[in-house]
Amino acid sequence: MKQPSSIDRRRFLKITGLTGASFIVGISFSQAEGAPEILNLSHVAGSFELTPYIIIESTGQITIMNPKPEMGQGTWQSIPALIAEELCVSPDQVTIKPTSGEAQIPGQSAGGSSSVRGSYDRLRKVGASAREMLIKAASDQWQVPAEECYAEEAKVYHKPSGKNIGYGELVEAASKLEVPKEPKLKDPSTFRILGKSMPRPDVPLKVNGQAVFGIDAEVPGMVYASVERCRVFGGKLLSYDDSEAMKVKGVQRVVKAERVLGKNRYESIAIVADNYWAALQGRKALKVQWDYQGNDQFNTAAYEQQLRELAKSDGVVAHNSGDFDGAFATAPVKLEALYETPVVAHATMEPMNCTAHWKEDNKVEVWVSCQGAGIIKRELSTVLGIPQDNIIPHILFNGGGFGRRLSADYATEAAMISKATGKPVKVIWTREDDIQLGPFRPMTFSAMKAGLNADGKTIAFQHKVISPSISATNNDKYDKTKADRSMTEGISDQQYEFPNMKNLYVFADIHIPMAPWRSVTSSTLAFAHECFIDEMAAKAGKDPLDYRLGLMTKDSDAKNVLLKLKEVSNWNKPLPKGRGRGVAQYEFFAGLCGQVVEVTKQTNGAIKVDNVFAVIDLGTVVNPDNVKAQVEGGIVMGLVAAVKDGIIFEKGASRQSNFNNNKMLRINEMPKVEVHILANGGPVIRGVGEPGLPPLAPALCNAIYAATGKRIRRLPIDLNKI
């Protein structure tokens, strides 16, 4: 066991709140992330470079620290499960505690569907190491060979004699042992937790009102604030008059603040009051003059026209294989189409909020729904100019994340308001603030080209993306000369075997802040990509699913997904007239999913979405029922983005403001969803939270084409008016 260089025992004890004997196992990330070292921290009582993942106290109390915030994606179960399985404890013997950035652990955030796939081996090894040490402690005590012992339900058993001893009683001895170099992982056939549809421990808290979300935080002496910000992006504050606002009963103060989002700095005015209602009333009475700086000239219609113009330019090369230009020029059959998608809002069910307390010693404590303690520490430190050690985040249940809570603009602003007020303050965004102020999912336009030979075989393929860039709206140092990888994600990585493929990126600037939105750019690119493949199939006179399979001669997971879809959706069974089914699959950084959608054209002409069959490929599955829930959710979110309002800017501001004009799917519009999981092992572990989303829009539009003969090339659509 290596001793870490800097040890601060007092600080460590404060963090974990431990007294008495305990056995703590963690990982050191002082090396490269790829080669973490598992450490016994019981005596070294770690520094900030150490994470205690498992804490076993002499009372038998077992705590597993969870670095991945729970936002509905199931990490409250799936992450501790990795440790609990190898530690041989049942889920109900364990207390789960979220990390608060106690240590500089990379990975204290959840995004990119990466929580399980990024932790699978690492956290199992942490659990296995602790288990082997506990077994060693018991066998030493009994003076029997360790091989005769095994662990189960937080006890070590001696097989020949049947003796057993609880983990709590082994704490003292185990804490003095060396960490095994090569802990033996369990054979998956003996798993009791992993791979099983275990109930999620957060669910009971979410049916009786006990789950504590960021918005529920309570701090003694807390005041409330509502914040006025310019609806026109890029507006500057000219002046404000708070005389009427100050007259509202309960309003305490009006203070200036700032919302910092990447490179963007937006001035704001906070109304601080005894209660939130008073703050809202005060805000209504506030008079503000903004200088829009000409940004009130911006509107979506004109911007989209600009994108259509840009679609004619070459852009920069994102991928080039074979000779696209030559093959396309000589192809006997050519297809071209432009696909268009909208800007959308995240609209997490829990609006942005943060409770912050800036204390006299420049320590800042925050209680917040955010996708990571690491994000809070980093952002607050950078924006507020105080050391990371001064920032104490408490990450509570997130009422949805979807990428919106990868930013911490709401937290830095709340901290500034607390500083100006000298009190802990809870800032709650209204739904209007939440929908209108971004950051948003960017729109992408896609100019598609394909050349087919005389027998319908594709010989040339091109996907050109024209869009604003997420990174350019946040980062000053954006490099326009390179194809933006996140804006072209997945388009060059599908398993289709195109002999000549050239994909391009055309950057379109915008001053409005953009952000990753569940499944990032695949949420729009898959629509263009997979609808266009359908157009090619139609041109070739082939069945769309067989056409796709025909483009995949080699074995691949994507091919298996399509084959499974064909079977579970009864693809070959004809549908009656007026009904149609469509297929799509998409593989990108987060994972791989394919879907078949079935629709009916009703007598009034409206389209009804009847069924969605989904096949998600994971390689390895931790909780099948949770995977199904995530795919069901991805499908709903994909459907909302395809058939409900997008965000339209007029005079520089979002026309949509709340759920009355930025509508969501409701229960009566919910199709029947059937999810199938492919988990046949193998080296790749794929993500769960996002892959269910991208295939929905193209599969839906391909189904509408099958039912009506109408091609959809622009989203959103109104299902009542196809």
């Binding site: 979410k206 995530q630 709903v636 009566n668």
Partner: protein, 160 residues
Amino acid sequence: MAAFNLTINNKSYAIEADPQMPLLWVIRDLAGLKGTKFGCGIAQCGACTIHLDGNPVRSCILPVSAGTGRKITTIEGISVNSDHPVQQAWIEEQVPQCGYCQSGQIMSAVALLKKTPKPTDAEIDTAMQGNICRCGTYQRIRKAIHRAAELHAGQSKKSF
């Protein structure tokens, strides 16, 4: 400011508030019951659903004055041990994802089942349409309501 006497979950609360202050904020911030959620403030999402004399209402648009002399029930008052058939069914079907909308969903479902102990899919659609779930748990909500109806039918208690 005015004084109000409210009965929430059979407990009485003496509240000092602006008469226009919505029940939602009174319940959350003055009575300290945080299970009822804020989602939109304009009666569009159902996250703030409570019962007034057993009927589901949107507490974000009801002034505190509308709550006096009435029986207010929030998610915390549905059962003592989370053993209401709707809560049990919600756990069995693993309905919640982020969970933020679920207090409101459950309050609407309980009100539906009180009136219609064995609802059809169409009746579920009508009763639950006012509740948005951004995480997309609708399929499980439907299943859980049917399951709650079954659970209740198997129990001896008369009403939901």
